[in-house]
């Protein structure tokens, strides 16, 4: 099993790699029980598998980043997306983001930050650290659908790159191996994708509307 495997996909015979709608497994992190319930439902309705945890520490435990074997080490529980609240006691969402991006195993997992506060410097800080997107709370169904589309599109693009650069027998399962995608020696490389299209942010002040 490839380390850092993000998604298993089957390559249909006949060539062209299409995403046959594999379920995303999302790890949702929020200290509010109300918000956990809502985000879980939003994600389930959007056909995602969901695991919710109440803190950054628990999230790291789940991933196995605390040094122990995490639940997500099991093949079926591989996490495809992490959605985390920003303001949490103990480890903040930002701290969690940093830890994930520092990890060679997990840095390829997209991380989306949620916050009730529309603070520009906060948003910038998170994006700079590698967050995929930033959602303003309260989170709505349209937000989750958008994120899911974004993630699925990025995954499809990654796999297109892989299928060209790696010769694989048709019909075999394709494992996403981060090591064979564009090298990520710095955070500013192409794994961040084009800023305007993938970093659309929900911002009440519409400061970023030129990028949309």
């Amino acid at each position: 099993m490839a380390v850092g495997e993000v998604m298993r996909m089957e390559v249909p015979t006949g060539g062209d790699l299409t995403v046959s709608s594999p379920d995303l497994h999302v790890l949702a992190v929020d200290d509010s029980i109300v918000d956990r319930k809502v985000i879980e439902r939003l994600l389930r309705i959007s056909s995602c598998k969901v695991t919710t945890v109440e803190s950054g520490t628990r999230a790291l435990q789940y991933l196995g980043l605390d040094g122990n074997t995490g639940a997500s080490d099991l093949k079926d529980l591989k996490v495809n997306l992490i959605v985390t609240d920003y303001s949490m006691p103990g480890l903040t969402g930002y701290d969690l983001l940093k830890k994930i991006k520092e990890s060679s195993t997990f840095r390829e997992i997209p991380v989306v930050i949620m916050s009730s506060e529309n603070i520009l410097t906060r948003i910038e800080q998170c994006l700079k650290e590698g967050a995929e997107d930033f959602l303003l709370k309260p989170v709505k169904l349209a937000d989750v659908k958008r994120i899911k589309q974004l993630i699925m599109r990025n995954e499809a693009e990654d796999h297109k790159t892989l299928s060209h650069s790696n010769k694989r027998k048709l019909g075999e399962d394709v494992d996403a191996s981060p090591s064979s995608s564009s090298s990520s020696s710095s955070h500013d490389d192409s794994s961040v994708k084009d800023f305007p299209s993938s970093k659309r942010m929900k911002s009440e002040s519409d400061i970023f509307s030129p990028f949309i």
Binding site: S32, I33, V34, D35, K37, V38, R41, L42, I45, S87, S116, K137, P138, V139, K140, L141
Partner: protein, 156 residues
């Protein structure tokens, strides 16, 4: 046509609209209703139930922090208000959320009297909303028991 069902549906619709008009609920409540279907008919009730439990818990702990005038833990109160504001926002509890905004301002300037007033107000508002929503859910239940469907209500 089953007039009992139609009557109940009308009652439900009018009641729900009035809750929005009187400012008890905002658009986020509409968003929550979208997430409910025949397979999960109790979703909204469950979420608001968690919210009301949260309110009760947070109000109690903030009350303790505000108790002694010479020793108020404003940091703890601020944290409580922040959480309350967040969860009220997530369920569309508009009046509760608005009190939290004033509450936070009192906290920021360490105004204990103001905080106590806001605490009382937030307690009143959440309990009021709880009663209103209970009436709403009862109507819903009656509709279902009478064999009808819960109306989609459009709030402008």
């Amino acid at each position: 046509m089953n007039t009992v069902v139609a009557q109940l549906q009308r009652q439900f619709q009018d009641y729900l609209v009035s809750l929005y008009q009187q400012g008890f609920l905002d658009n986020q409540f509409t968003e929550l209703r979208k997430l409910q279907d025949e397979g999960t008919p109790d979703f909204v009730a469950e979420v608001v139930s968690l919210f009301f439990d949260d309110c009760s818990k947070l109000i109690n702990s903030m009350s303790r922090s505000l108790e002694r005038p010479e020793n108020v833990d404003f940091k703890q109160v601020d944290s409580g208000v922040h959480q309350l504001k967040g969860s009220s926002s997530s369920v569309g509890a508009r009046r509760v959320k608005n009190v939290c905004i004033s509450f936070k301002e009192c906290c920021d300037v360490q105004n204990r009297e103001g905080c106590l007033r806001c605490l009382q107000q937030v307690d009143y508002e959440y309990k009021m909303l709880k009663t209103k929503l209970q009436d709403l859910f009862n109507l819903e239940q009656q509709i279902v028991q009478a064999g009808g469907a819960i109306p989609q209500v459009n709030i402008n």
